[in-house]
């Protein structure tokens, strides 16, 4: 057995139970397996264990809802190069790059071995973002355009290096890693569960609820104190509200970027209404403070349920009008259609996740493939898939998901009866020497949190994967061959997170 098999609702697993195999065996197996569409790697990382460096690989099987975990190890100072999986399956590039950056493990014939994020705990301190090895092409008629790392606005830093032939983009390289908070290490620096919870809500500000739920799920699997059914419903509603708010905001941003004022102001108003609904529920517009492990401070009351149902119904109706407007406006279709194509095959190869992948026809959705919370039980989730893979497809996936989320919220809340709720639990001990994997679908895509505890039940390693980690490469591919002036709408159609990547 190469893999330990579990699923997204199971408890934490003792580290002893994870098979420790030979890298060659794992390599051979993955080489074959990853050619099939149903498999993809959710996380792959290394951590020092005693005198060794132990690598964990978490493989997802979308067809059978299985989570397959495998591991291998090598001596900490062993100086051998492992054959690179990225060379065969580019989807693994962020993981191998991170391992190389942190532990100086070489991967043989790795095609793009650049540092991933220049974290403070990187091994080679001489490699800094200032001497980032940008890809270059020589040519008389080519010119380079550098955008960033400081942007004209309130967004985070990231450098975009375009190589253009006139107005056409030949190549875009995105260099991230300008700011770090060391979030993963912060989780291990404190034993205060509440502090860790707050930390998880700040991993990416636009996905506060999503990362919060992922952390809470990881902790509940370790402590064994499962969330009750009502709590699961509440979390599902919170997640879908967040999805609605962000998708509406991005619809507005896409309208702004093409100078379409009506769409912009309509979406701004609707987005405000959505996040104000969240605020009326929990006191924070982005849902901070709402998700707590094994309980909640902000249970839904009858009045709140009514308020949310009314608001969501109104948002749905008004947003649908905006959607119709966009779909019937010739000047907008001319901008969005056939722009920034990422074909399914490419999206598959680079391991795209979430709504961007679904817009290209890759049906990757944790809500249906690895159900959690109320998905798969109360809600029979069907992903919204488009095949074109252009800006329009990504926009339409967003539009349809907003309407779908509104339906889900209505469906859950119409059967919801408030009951006695538990207060959050910050104290119950965690299972020792265990690995807990929490998978969930944020609005952007698949979020994976992995917590590993030590002998005393303290978190020793915490690994976070934001969907942006995979999808930044999709953005770079989308603008190839496009006019450089279409970069902003492509960027907005993905709306990826800098801090989710840089951590």
């Amino acid at each position: 057995m190469i893999y330990y098999i579990t699923d997204n609702r199971n408890q934490a697993i003792h580290l002893r139970e994870i098979p420790e195999v030979d890298y060659a065996a794992l390599y051979e197996d993955l080489k074959e397996r990853l050619t099939q569409e149903q498999y993809h790697v959710a996380h792959y990382f290394a951590r020092p264990e005693e005198q060794k460096l132990r690598f964990y690989l978490i493989l997802l099987d979308d067809a059978t809802a299985q989570i397959m975990i495998s591991s291998f190890s090598m001596e900490y100072y062993e100086d051998i190069a492992l054959p690179s999986l990225t060379a065969l399956h580019p989807a693994l590039h962020p993981f191998e790059r991170e391992i190389t950056e942190l532990y100086n493990v070489e991967f043989d014939s790795m095609p793009w071995n650049k540092p991933l994020r220049f974290a403070f705990n990187r091994r080679n301190r001489n490699s800094t973002i200032d001497n980032y090895p940008f890809y270059t092409i020589e040519g008389e008629s080519l010119h380079e355009v550098n955008v960033g790392p400081i942007h004209a606005g309130i967004i985070e830093p990231g450098a975009f290096r375009f190589i253009c032939n006139g107005e056409n983009v030949l190549h875009l390289e995105i260099a991230l890693g300008y700011q770090h908070r060391g979030v993963e290490n912060e989780f291990t620096a404190t034993d205060n569960r509440l502090r860790q919870m707050l930390l998880s809500e700040s991993i990416a500000g636009d996905s506060a609820v999503s990362h919060g739920v992922a952390f809470a799920m990881a902790m509940e699997k370790l402590s064994g104190k499962k969330a009750d059914e009502n709590l699961e419903r509440e979390r599902t509603v919170a997640l879908e509200l967040e999805r609605m708010a962000m998708h509406i905001a991005d619809t507005g941003a896409l309208c702004t970027d093409v100078g379409y004022q009506l769409g912009q102001v309509a979406c701004e108003a609707l987005r405000t209404m959505t996040i104000n609904t969240t605020q009326a529920w929990c006191g924070n517009r982005f849902g901070k403070g709402l998700i707590r492990p094994s309980g909640t401070n902000k249970p839904l009351t009858k009045e709140k349920v009514e308020m949310i149902r009314q608001n969501v119904a109104q948002i749905k109706r008004r947003y649908n009008e905006v959607r119709e407007d966009i779909k019937t406006s010739a000047s907008l279709l001319a901008r969005y259609e056939q722009c920034g194509n990422v074909p399914k095959q490419e999206m598959q190869r680079i391991g795209g996740v979430g709504m961007a992948a679904r817009a290209s026809g890759v049906s990757r959705d944790i809500r249906s493939s690895h159900p959690y919370l109320a998905y798969g039980t109360e809600l029979k989730h069907e992903s919204i898939i488009k095949r074109q893979g252009d800006v329009m497809a990504r926009l339409m996936v967003r539009c349809r998901e907003v309407l779908q989320s509104a339906d889900y919220i209505e469906q859950i809340l119409s059967n919801y009866t408030p009951a006695e709720s538990h207060l959050p639990d910050y104290d119950s001990p965690l299972k020792e020497e265990s690995i807990s994997i929490a998978l969930m679908e944020g609005w952007r895509g698949e979020i994976c949190h992995v917590a590993i505890t030590d002998k005393e039940g303290k978190i020793e390693t915490y690994k976070i994967k934001d969907p942006s980690l995979h999808n930044w490469l999709a953005l770079a591919l989308a603008v190839r061959g496009e006019g450089i002036s279409d970069f902003p709408i492509n960027n907005k159609s993905f709306n990826l997170s800098y801090c989710g990547h840089d951590l």
Binding site: A152, E167, P488
Partner: protein, 304 residues
């Protein structure tokens, strides 16, 4: 006296159009919006600020805004307001007008190249391309007027044509439509350019002025208003010549024509994809050629 009033009216037009555009947009967006004089306050603020110059730029960069504004002011002095008489007028001043504005464009392109920024180089390339493409439309438009009226000076073209006959009405209305289109391109509004965008990669005119601040930026803003008012006034004159050739009719017409049309288009429509701009502008030139042809046939007195 009439000359002073004429100049004054063109200045009022140039100051009022941005205000009308902003109010129209606010109204259509259902917002309270900015006050009518916000653009004047902004420029006032800019004038109070000091300027900063990049160390890579030369003297050309510093004098460019002054030349840009100067050229726009000179061009403005050629423009009559319906029955009033402009300050400068001579045979062939339509050509002089067009190339005074071309001088303004070329100097700002040079200034943009002077900064050495990759953004501004892109903006300069775009501005040069669209400037070159819109030029035939402008010249053919003037040619139509000159052919039909027999004069090559703005003042005389509009002054001597108040016969209110059908042929004149057709040609003048078509020419007015042409000049409204040219106004959109020349003043860089949606669908060609978006003056409000914050995205350097999509800008055309704005990106060339990224390195300017303070009074230089104020001069560039004012020059753009004047340019816009000139074309708008030509269109308004053409319409006024068909029905009511008076300054008190032409001035509000010029303000509302551009103010409302730009405001409505910017509220309800998206921008062109950049490559489509070329098609859009060439179409305006083709339209100009068509209008010229119609004018020519009507001049030959073909019965319709």
């Amino acid at each position: 006296m009439a000359i002073v009033l004429n100049t004054l009216l063109v200045i009022i037009t140039s100051l009022a159009i941005p205000g009308v555009i902003n109010r129209t947009r606010a109204l259509l967006a259902g917002r309270q919006g900015m006050p009518f004089t916000q653009h004047l306050r902004n420029v006032n603020l800019l004038m109070k600020k000091s300027t900063v110059y990049s160390t890579t730029t030369t003297a050309l960069f510093r004098i460019a805004p002054a030349i840009y504004l100067g050229a726009a002011i000179v061009a403005m002095l050629f423009i009559p307001v319906a029955d009033l008489y402009p300050l400068i007028s001579f045979d062939g001043d339509v050509i002089c007008f067009a190339y005074t504005l071309a001088l303004a464009r070329i100097i700002i392109i040079f200034a943009a190249m002077d900064t050495g920024s990759s953004f501004e180089g892109m903006g300069a390339a775009r501005e040069a391309l669209y400037g070159a493409l819109i030029e035939p439309a402008l010249m053919i438009g003037f040619a139509t007027l000159a052919l039909f009226c027999g004069y090559t000076s703005f003042a005389e073209i509009f002054e001597h044509e108040q016969t209110f006959d059908l042929h004149l009405t057709i040609v003048m209305l078509l020419t007015a439509f042409l000049f409204v289109n040219i106004t959109f391109v020349e003043s860089g509004r949606v669908p060609v350019d978006d003056p409000r965008t914050h995205l350097e990669l999509t800008m055309i005119h704005e990106v060339m002025c990224l390195d300017y601040c303070g009074i230089d930026m104020a001069m560039i803003h004012i020059a753009s208003w004047i340019k816009c008012a000139c074309f708008s006034m030509i269109a308004a004159n053409a319409i006024a010549a068909t029905c009511c050739f008076n300054w008190w009719f032409a001035t509000p017409l010029a303000i509302l024509l551009t103010g409302l049309s730009v405001g409505v288009v910017e509220s309800t429509q998206g921008r062109n994809k950049l490559v489509r701009n070329t098609t859009f502008i060439v179409t305006i030139s083709a339209l100009a050629a068509l209008i010229f042809f119609i004018g020519y046939l009507l001049k030959l007195d073909i019965n319709i």
